[in-house]
């Protein structure tokens, strides 16, 4: 169905959505959405950071991994809010954001962070029972280090958006 629709048309349709118009017309929305975005990204990045350090075997080593992983519920909830608020800030000025290098790189790294999570989940996480209370295997430590690096870069790039073309 998307055949024949250019990226520019999709962006224009996003910008013309009634909700985009409302966000553009009413100056209250941007600060509200940005505040929501900052709270939720702080929770995502903070919780992911400690989970990554635990995966790398450098934080709360005595705690069983399945205990540490209980924070994943909070991460999903906060990530949902970050995506929703981010999308609502993005939609009214979609073309401008997509032309911004920092924004594009940030989206690319969010995708990579998701991919890294998926690989971890489908791989070494399936054998969690083997290392739940012992040192994490190399694959888990690597996934933790990659995730930590990606999320720090995502925060840096997110903050760079207004300073970048």
């Amino acid at each position: 169905m998307l055949q024949g629709i250019s990226l520019q048309e999709i962006l224009t349709r996003l910008e013309d959505l009634p909700i985009s118009q409302e966000i553009t017309d009413n100056p209250i929305w941007f600060p509200v959405l940005e505040a929501m975005h900052v709270v939720s990204l702080g929770l995502v990045v903070g919780a992911v950071l400690f989970l990554d350090l635990r995966l790398m075997g450098v934080f709360a080593r005595k705690e069983p991994m399945h205990e540490a992983a209980k924070v994943i519920g909070l991460i999903w909830l906060a990530a949902g809010l970050a995506f929703m608020s981010g999308f609502l800030m993005f939609a009214p000025a979609a073309s401008r954001y997509l032309a911004n290098t920092a924004f594009d790189l940030k989206m690319g790294l969010i995708f990579l962070a998701g991919l890294n999570m998926l690989v971890l989940h489908l791989g070494v996480w399936r054998r969690l029972a083997d290392w739940n209370e012992s040192a994490p295997p190399f694959a888990a430590r690597l996934a933790g280090a990659v995730s930590l690096t990606l999320w720090v870069l995502i925060v840096i790039l997110g903050r760079m958006v207004p300073f970048t073309q």
Partner: protein, 166 residues
Amino acid sequence: MWALAHQIGIGINQSAFSAWARGLANIYFWLIPAMQITHLLGMSVLMGSAGLYGLRLARGFDQPGIAASAGASLLPWIIGAALVQSLTGVFMVLHRPTRAFDSLMFLPKLALIVLGLSLFLVLLYKLKRQTSERLSVMLRLAGASLFSCWIAIALAGRLISFIRAG
């Protein structure tokens, strides 16, 4: 009260410290973005800690000792992040004092930070001495308050530049 805050902002603006911060930011264009990024990362550490610790307390523990050991692992991170936040925060205020002091959000944010850090410390101290397997309702409520307090701090912080006094 806001008039007094405004005067404090003006006073700091005229001080040598503020001139030093502005001078430095003029020479190194990347300094303020770097401070903002560091401040965001430090905030994430504190929010992550409040989420991990506060929500676990709110849920109640079913294994004795977990609370104390979780707190002991987090303590150096909380102290480190609080230091980083203070240094970057003070620099950003010195750079543009009236931006902070003319905002309705800045002073409440400072008050909430004192509350949030005190809650962390009191809870860490209390749980070190916890012997029973179940947490009291008071401790569970305090855990939920810790979490809510850090959410409010982040909200107030982001809204500093949007909600002005007067």
